[in-house]
Assembly symmetry: C2
Homo-oligomer: 322 residues x 2
Amino acid sequence: MEGLAAYTRKIEAGLTAVDFPTSPNQLYDPLRYFLTIGGKRIRPILTLLGAQLFSASVDKAFPQAISIELFHNFTLIHDDIMDAAPLRRNQETVHVKWNNDIAILSGDVLLIKAYQELGKIDPAHLPEAFALFNKTAIEVCEGQQMDMDFEIAENVTIDQYIEMIRLKTSVLLGCALEIGAIVAEASKKDREALYNFGQHIGIAFQIQDDILDLYADPDKFGKQVGGDVIANKKTLLYLTALEKATLEQKEQLRQLENEQDLTLKVERTRQLFDQIGTKQICQERMSHHFDQAIHFLQLIDVSDSSKEPLQDLSEFLMQRDQ
Amino acid sequence: MEGLAAYTRKIEAGLTAVDFPTSPNQLYDPLRYFLTIGGKRIRPILTLLGAQLFSASVDKAFPQAISIELFHNFTLIHDDIMDAAPLRRNQETVHVKWNNDIAILSGDVLLIKAYQELGKIDPAHLPEAFALFNKTAIEVCEGQQMDMDFEIAENVTIDQYIEMIRLKTSVLLGCALEIGAIVAEASKKDREALYNFGQHIGIAFQIQDDILDLYADPDKFGKQVGGDVIANKKTLLYLTALEKATLEQKEQLRQLENEQDLTLKVERTRQLFDQIGTKQICQERMSHHFDQAIHFLQLIDVSDSSKEPLQDLSEFLMQRDQ
């Protein structure tokens, strides 16, 4: 997608231009740092494409696109504390480079900054955009809590898992798109379809993330293949395997959780998943959500050619190998 | 103030009625707990009085009053993590009763809930209320960061200290009042005066807090008298003493910081402060801000009788001994 790079540069420039005061620098230095360590910037691009879909200029939705990316980065800063993650995009996380207190407080101020950027919308559209943003932000927190709960839960169903990823990651894609559509004064019906498109793309994207963790090409994958297996994470692969496994295979899965040789652990788990047919079942589930997304995109009452950028972006996201 | 208790009950009822989902309960139980452990509820009452001052019904500003109190409680939950505080209002803090991760995330969701309540305003007033809320929320975070910075700073001036308390606590009182005035469609000029009234009352209140820490009646004071002295906190008393002290007194102050006998430490520090005249200087500074507050209240273009509840509340706040 040649157009994507131009949008990414636009967003990067916008993030660099966010007006943080110099003082107190312990509050704002972490934000200046974190917002410039990169990222795919998919969410703000969705806001721009959401506006463009309904013939609004992307510039009109630009502050709202930045708002969505600031919100996303707020969640990353706080999630990194909760996950005790040392690195993000191969750079030190805020709570490691500074400390937990600073990561909490600079995350807080970033969330408020996200609201401030959102507020640059035409006042006539503020109530709708604000309500959608609030609802989404709450859902993202609920998704993060569910994710933490699942770490210690005995049983997690596949439906619960899909609901967790819907809240934690997918609703924000729907919201990003719909806020672009609100700026462009799209109809309620079109906005809903666009939101659903984003939500299903988000779920498909997250399922692919789970699959790639174990099945990515190690030469292209940015991180260790099998990281989720090593961490005994309850991913869709794992939950699917557990659901379809025979009693004997379940026992093998349980034993592998305590395997100390990590290379062997990843290798054996992959073999067991292959026997069970896990990858294929997950790919079918991913395709289902991708198809649903395309279905909702088709419902939108604009020309097919207007939909091409979103169609292209979806396909680009689904073809990634990292 | 007989009217105050009725308002407090109204706010308590409103906080109990905030609609938190049951699930995920690890996210919402801490909020149900924290919002019902009490508090003076001064800030939301200011919002109600701000509306009433301009002849609006207090009910009209009720969701916004709740919004202000939710915001305040969000800051308390996160500040308690940063201060490693075990107790709040003699009850366990959220990060102690649950854990840090849950305190971070439930604080986050509470901030978003505060925005959601704010959003129940008449859409015509949303842009102004939203902008004021965002500006204030950012300032409160900046004040908290300055407070943390001062703990390790070598030199803190009295002006810096006053600016810190202005941001950390006073702007929220101004904001609480002005949001009530926005709901009541007060003029820009009256709103500004009311905001300034609140800000100066806030500074006076905070100075009194510093004075009470060392000079309160131990039988009436809710916590240990001299807690700030024991913790070597750079309060206004301390900074004022340091500014006015002779070289010899400065040396004595420095030595007292390392005094292990805590009763003696508090006693000797009080004696030294008394020699320097610290309490009186701080009281004069407090009176200056109280007078400023009253000056701004007088500027507001409504009848004197309409101002009585705010005048009474200010005097009530200044007469407290706990």
